[in-house]
Amino acid sequence: MMNDPTLPKKDAAERGDADSPLVEVGNVRKSYDAVHALGGVDFHLNPGEVVGLVGHNGAGKSTLMNVLAGTIERSSGSFRVGGREIGAWSAASAQQAGLRCIFQELSLCANLTSAENTRIVHRSLRGLGWRRRARQVIGPVLDEIFPGHGIDLDRKVADLPIGERQMVEIARAFTQTSIKLRAVILDEPTSALGHEATEQLLTHIRRAAGRGIACILITHRLNEILAVCDRTVVMVDGKVVAERATAGLSRAALVELMGSIERPRDRSVGKASSVQAPVIRHAGRDTADLTIEVGKGEIIGFAGLDGHGQRERLRAMFYAARRQREALPGAYVAGDRGSEGVFSLWSIADNLTIRSLDALTRGGMISGAAARKLAETWSERLKVKAPSIDTPIMSLSGGNQQKVLFARALASDAEVIFLDDPMRGVDVGTKQEVYRLIRAEAENGRSFVWYTTELEELTNCERIYVFREGRAATRLEGDAIETGRILQASFGGEHV
């Protein structure tokens, strides 16, 4: 039962034409309800080739890799392995074809040792003495890629520092037993590695390519792409927008390719907001970390690659604002609806009014009439699509739930509203409505601090701070806010 007998002994790639690409997908699409993660992607990987894949967060890189690794099923599109058309593709068949994937989040079992984790991916490591053989499989590979790593293979992965875990995971992907290793997909493999280990890995990728093992490298560190890749593929919004030989390509050219889609600018810039003193000044951690200033009626954007400290700064500002007595009332709109936003068992009205209970209290009790009036007014203003305000919030679509969360903040007495990437996974129509509302509220004197991973949203801002490696590194204002400059600032400076 645990062995998969349905797969043929000889895998598809072995029987296929030697000249044909290892893996080739055509017009692959993947959608989750209304959201198109992949909108018709053509991609191929030749034997022994190193391909770099770049793009902003949410461009669909990881989805594409998951489709190749068989862990996400494609919605439509053709899939060829070694020139042969493949119907259903699964993680087991990808393993059988010699295709390995290092996923963005660690996919080792932390409760097992490195040797035991090696066993998990190799079915042939069984029977007497499998433990010793597993050590002999992973050990030399680890020694080859990261000489002098000093990792004890019999220690639990949970007891290893994060960098060593990543080394083990990388080495495990390059191990080989009964199935010939053909390709390794590395999704952000260097995020937890030190400088030296990163260099060692890049060297190994070239060495493996020399042995005919193809690699796909996904990374935000563009110099790594330029250093090792034969070909670079650029993705934007679930589509491949460019494909270039890496030779002769420069960083600047790559960044330009990523921001190549022209976006309409529907904003009147240059509002005279600098006249008055800022209502919030939040100092950075050190001199490299910019002080963030928010004026009355301003929309301030936090940009940069996901996870570079924007959310932490946003929360720090929110809590700092709450601690001060004379500070303006603030509200926080969470992006992670499920875990920080909605009360899933409550109705729309209850969810909407929770931030305003103080204002709705009459003589120690909540006034039902006032609460309903507030909920009705704001769900109407935000055009929440629901039969009534007593509808349970979980019966709404994601976009409408998000509108209720917006309404919760806007209906309150908050003067400063903190937005934590709230539009993730929301459809375009809703986004446009909410953008208009934010701008209208800003005209009325409310201030917004808006962290977003979507470049397009930043065009709504008066001023943005681009974060890199935990710090607000660059400040862009007015006409300087454009995709190219933001990308340049997000990617800039690493190992250059």
Partner: protein, 324 residues
Amino acid sequence: MSDAAARVPARSSSNARPALLNALQVGLPAIALLVMLAIIFSIRPAAMSYFGFHLLFKLSVPLVFAALAQMMVIMLGDIDLSNGAFVGLITCVTALYLGDAPAIAALCYIVLIAAYAGFGLLIHARQLPSIIVTLGMSFIWLGIAVILLPAPGGSAPAWLAAFMSWQPPLMPLSIWLAALAALAGHLVISRSSYGVVLRGAGGNPRAVERAGWSVIGIRVAVYAVAGLLACLAGLTLTGLTTSGDANVAPAYTLLGVGAVILGGGAFTGGVVSPVGTVIGALTLSLAGSLLSFLQVPPTWQIGAQGVILFLVLAGRVLLSERTR
């Protein structure tokens, strides 16, 4: 697992101290067991004999199997609240059918184990919390058992009762069975290459799935094995009590959980020790005898048993904090 992943452990300067603490942590239930035995022997030196051991550990055999059944489920990060009721049902089936109509009894066992596996499938396929599903299962088992045998009764087949009172050479039967169960569990779960996959599926099911294993198949198989072990617990219990009783073993559910945790298991899944579980089960079943030897009045015994369990578990938690 998430807290383990988030923590970046500091490298210890010397390896000897953590290793010692680790050994202590593994050995703690064994130490507790030895301490209890020492107290009993100092009160009544005559207990230090083949027959004394036989009497002390006689009732631990079913609990050992029930605890191992619980361990299989906890290994996947689930919990089984139906374990005790299931053991009760098995005693009813055994006392009613095994003597006169062994074929019917065998069929019942197979169907019940298949039902266990089926509930495992349900838990996995619908992503239901195991605590709810197994709680529901426990009522189903109890209901069937009461329908089969409304009042305690029936009789164990003679061969089963004879086997349970058999006195093998060297050690009493209970110790032999516990040792064999611990050895088999250790080889399969802790040492074999498939045991690694099972523990991996408990620790990080996504990773195991991505490596091409069928996690749903693993879950069904593990639940089936848990059903089989609970079956063995019911059989041996019937051999000891020589009758069937729907309400004979409700305490096994939580004593089994206690034994697993005492033996070094964790609710997060993937971290279990068969040897520790067996020793934990022996410790818990001995706690009752110890209190009798200490002449604790019967009305206080259950509470005092709880205190012993609490103390040993607290010791384990303290030690595991030190190892970090």
